[in-house]
Symmetry: C2
Subunit: 218 residues, 2 copies
């Protein structure tokens, strides 16, 4: 049975791969699981039919037979638990993987989103630059911790796991920005993630839809 | 074997129960699992010994034999998966529980933390009031979605699960504030959570330490 994801029909990031369906696509590509995508307009996201699947009216969702799942972290965890390749069997390694999955979404991404939110809401406001500096300082502390924890390892717990899908996807939000480039080990970690064929396929798939929908030149 | 948590020796919330060890205590109380607590000073949190357990130098951690775990969501999920009472056996109900666990920490709490961060960092700044209004408006949208999803149910998926521990703990951060009180169903949901004997015991345990350490009158 082929799982069905939902994704933005018109991703606000214009195909840069930052919409969260890319994270689920990446997980499915890593485990070799084909999938289908149901694309939704912004209006459809907020309609009762979709809210019955996703209470906050967001993407992605994941349907497979009578299983309906939402929240990217929960979906990626489900994929990792039901396919080989993304979740170590060793009890402690599995625990660390799940801890890093929550950490990516709860302890790193919110600090990046606060910066994005400041860019979006406070640009042009008198307080914008001060707010941004504050938020960036807080993110630097977190990224220093992450850098120290990664150390010389290729992946968060050594081998590649579902946690790296989420953490690399979070770091993609600051790709090319000083806060990442000033930490070469983290930048190299992200580059390793992006270089994986499964990531490349997931990125290409979301971009292909965007370009087909909006024209390659848009 | 008795699990060992870490908690603040001097909780910054002065025993209000908002430090995240309370969430883990609550889960352990619900399943009837005794535990011990190792209290850490702010300096100890940032030392290598603790960072080896928790890369971001935070509490709580959870150690049981050779298992070492961190991130509140991962710890509560582990407790729910290894004890009866917090995780439904039905595959779909389990999936929904895990989705709501991630939702509490990734889709609701960050919006509340942004308000707390604005209070803390921007108080007295010229932009403080504007920022606060923006952040509160965004939280209202999320809480309306949550209110609609909860509907007339007692708990998020009907029966009480680990997801309610996390969601009620997140909502405790806005207890008594207009953003919660204007949504009576959510306020009643939180009150049901607080009324559970297991929550009461977890709250009392963290307060007891705070008072013993700092004097009941502080």
């Amino acid at each position: 049975m082929i799982p069905i994801l939902t994704a933005f029909d018109a991703s606000p990031d214009r195909g840069r791969g930052l919409a969260r369906d890319t994270r689920v696509r990446w997980a499915l590509e890593e485990v070799g699981q084909p999938y289908e995508v149901r694309y939704l307009s912004f209006a459809e996201l907020k309609e009762p039919a979709h809210r019955a699947l996703q209470p906050f009216g967001q993407i992605p969702t994941y349907e497979k037979g009578d299983l309906a799942l939402w929240e990217t972290g929960a979906i990626v965890l489900h994929i990792a638990e039901t396919h080989a390749g993304l979740m170590p069997k060793d009890r402690n390694a599995r625990a660390q993987t799940i801890a890093w999955m929550f950490a990516a979404l709860s302890s790193v991404e919110p600090w990046i989103l606060e910066i994005e939110s400041t860019h979006f809401h406070d640009r042009g406001q008198a307080w914008g630059a001060d707010r941004l500096a504050q938020a960036e300082n807080r993110l630097r502390v977190r990224l220093d911790d992450l850098d120290r924890a990664l150390g010389g390892k290729n992946w968060l717990i050594g081998e590649f796991t579902a946690a790296d899908i989420l953490m690399c996807s979070v770091l993609l939000r600051v790709k090319g920005e000083p806060v990442l480039d000033e930490r070469p080990r983290l930048a190299a970690y992200l580059a390793r993630g992006e270089a994986r064929p499964a990531y490349q396929r997931s990125f290409a798939a979301q971009l292909e839809h965007y370009q087909r929908r909006h024209g390659a030149g848009s």
